[in-house]
Amino acid sequence: MSTASLNRAFALLLWRDLVLALRRRTELLNPLLFFVLVTTLFPLGIGADPALLSAIAPGIIWVAALLAAMLSLDSVFRSDFEDGSLEQFLISAQPLSVLVLAKVVAHWLITGLPLLIVAPLLGLLLHLSGASIGALLLTLLLGTPVLSLIGAIGVALTVGLRRGGVILSLLVLPLYIPVLIFAADAVASSGAGLPITAHLSLLAALLVLALSLSPLATAAALKISLS
C-alpha cells in the first residue's frame, strides 16, 4: 500500500468521476441553473430597490450557493451505491477515507467550483459593488469545498435510505452555518471598504479542519451505512 499506489488510486478515482460527469454534460448545468434561479427570485419577492438589494445581496447569494451545493450532494454516492461500485471502494486496498476525499474533490470540481463562474453575474444582478464581487469569489473559492466536505458526511449517513434527501438537509444545513456567517459577512464588509482578512483566515481554518476530519467521518459513515 505504498504512497505511489495511494496517489494513483486517488487520481484514478478523480479521473473517473470527472469523465463520468463530462459524459453526462447536461447535468453539470443543474446546480448553476438552480443558483441563478434562486437568486433571481429574491428581487421579485423583495422589490428592485438597488440600495436594499445591494445590502442583502451577500446573504442572498451565499444562501443560494449553499442550497445549490447541498442539492447536488446526492450525486456523490447515490449512483455508486446503486450499481455496486461503492462496495468495491469499501473492499479496495486503499484506505476508504482517501477514496472518499477523491470523490468529494471531484464533486467540488463538478458542482462547487462552477458556482464561481456565475457568481459575478448574480453580483451585478443584485447591484453588488466591484470589491464585493471580488470578495464573493474569494469566499466561494474557500467556502464551497467546505460545503462539499461536510455535505459528504450527511450523504454517507443517508445513502442507504430510500428518501434520504429530506433528512440530508436537516443533518447538513446546521453545520453550514459558520461558513455562511463568515462568508456573507466578508462580502458585506468588503462592500463597506472594511478589511476581510479575518473572515478569509477563518474560512481557511474551516477548510483545513474539514479537509482533515470529514473524510474520516464520511468513511466511517459509509462503512456503517453499507454494513
Binding site: 458526511i153 449517513l157 443517508t158 442507504g160 435510505l161 434520504g164 433528512i167 436537516l170 443533518l171 444545513l173 446546521p174 453545520l175 452555518i177 459558520p178 456567517i181 463568515f182 459577512d185 477563518l202 474551516l206 479542519l209 476530519l213 467521518a217 466511517a220 459513515a221 456503517i224 451505512s225 454494513s227
Partner: protein
C-alpha cells in the same frame, strides 16, 4: 467495581439495576426541585432591575446548561458504543436525544418569554438563543436519522457518527454566532445575563441545575430500559418478564 461495570454491561442486569434506582432517583430529584423552586420563588429577593421576571432564570439557565451537557454525553456514549461495540452505550446515547431536545426546546421557550418584558418582542436574535435554536436542529437531525434507518443497530451507530460530528461543530457554531451577534448587535450590547448574582439567587440556580441532572439520569434510565426491552424482546429473560411482570 469492575464486576459492577461488567454486570451492568449485560442487558438483563442493566434492566434490573436501573429499575431499582428509578424510584430513589425520582424521590431525590422531586425533593431537590421543590426545594430549589421554594428557594427561587420565595426566598430569593426581587431584583432591583428586572423585578420578579428574572425568576424565569431558575428554569431557563439550567435547561440551557442541560441541553449542551446532554449533547456531549450523547456524543460520548455514541463514541463508546462505536469504538468498543458496547450495546448499552448505544442505548444510552439514543435515549438521551429526546431528553436533550426537550431541554433545548424548554431553554428556547423560557428564554424568549424572559426576553419579552425586557425587549418587547417574543424573539430576539441574541447569541445564546440563536445557538440554542441551532442546537435544537442538531438534536432533531439526530432523532430524524435514527427514525429513518430501519435496522436498530445500524441506526444507533449512524447517529453516533452524527452526534460526534455535531459535538465537534458545536463550539464552532457557538463562536461564529457570537461573532455574528457582535457584528449586527450594534454598539449597545444588551447583556442577556442574570442580574449580579446575589447568593440567595445563586443557591436555587445550582440546586435546580443538580435537580435537572438527576432528572436527566432518571428519564434516560427509564427510556433505556424500554429500549433494552425492545432490542432483547426475543431473549429468554424478556419472555419470562412478560409472562410474570
Amino acid at each position: 467495581m469492575l464486576r459492577f461495570f461488567h454486570q451492568l454491561g449485560s442487558p438483563k442486569h442493566f434492566y434490573r439495576i436501573a429499575g431499582s434506582w428509578i424510584p430513589w432517583l425520582a424521590a431525590v430529584c422531586g425533593l431537590l426541585m421543590l426545594y430549589g423552586l421554594y428557594q427561587g420563588m420565595v426566598v430569593a429577593p426581587t431584583d432591583y432591575q428586572q423585578g420578579d421576571s428574572y425568576r424565569i432564570m431558575f428554569i431557563h439557565v439550567p435547561s440551557a446548561w442541560m441541553s449542551l451537557f446532554i449533547y456531549v454525553v450523547m456524543a460520548a456514549a455514541g463514541a463508546i458504543g462505536l469504538i468498543w461495540h458496547m450495546k448499552l452505550a448505544e442505548v444510552i446515547a439514543i435515549s438521551s436525544a429526546p431528553i436533550g431536545a426537550s431541554f433545548t426546546f424548554l431553554a428556547l421557550v423560557t428564554g424568549s418569554i424572559w426576553g419579552k418584558p425586557m425587549w418587547g418582542t417574543w424573539w430576539v436574535w441574541d447569541a445564546r438563543l440563536t445557538s440554542e435554536l441551532i442546537l435544537l436542529f442538531l438534536y432533531l437531525g439526530v432523532m430524524a436519522l435514527y427514525g429513518a434507518i430501519d435496522d436498530k443497530r445500524t441506526a444507533a451507530r449512524a447517529t453516533a457518527i452524527l452526534a460526534i460530528v455535531g459535538v465537534v461543530n458545536i463550539p464552532i457554531i457557538h463562536y461564529s454566532v457570537e461573532w455574528w451577534n457582535t457584528l449586527h448587535q450594534g454598539p449597545t450590547v444588551t447583556k442577556f445575563g442574570a442580574p449580579s448574582i446575589d447568593i440567595r439567587m445563586l443557591i436555587p440556580l445550582l440546586v435546580m441545575a443538580v435537580a435537572f441532572k438527576l432528572f436527566y439520569l432518571l428519564v434516560v434510565l427509564m427510556r433505556a430500559r424500554v429500549e433494552v426491552l425492545e432490542r432483547e424482546r426475543n431473549a429468554r429473560w424478556v419472555r419470562e418478564l412478560v409472562e410474570a411482570p
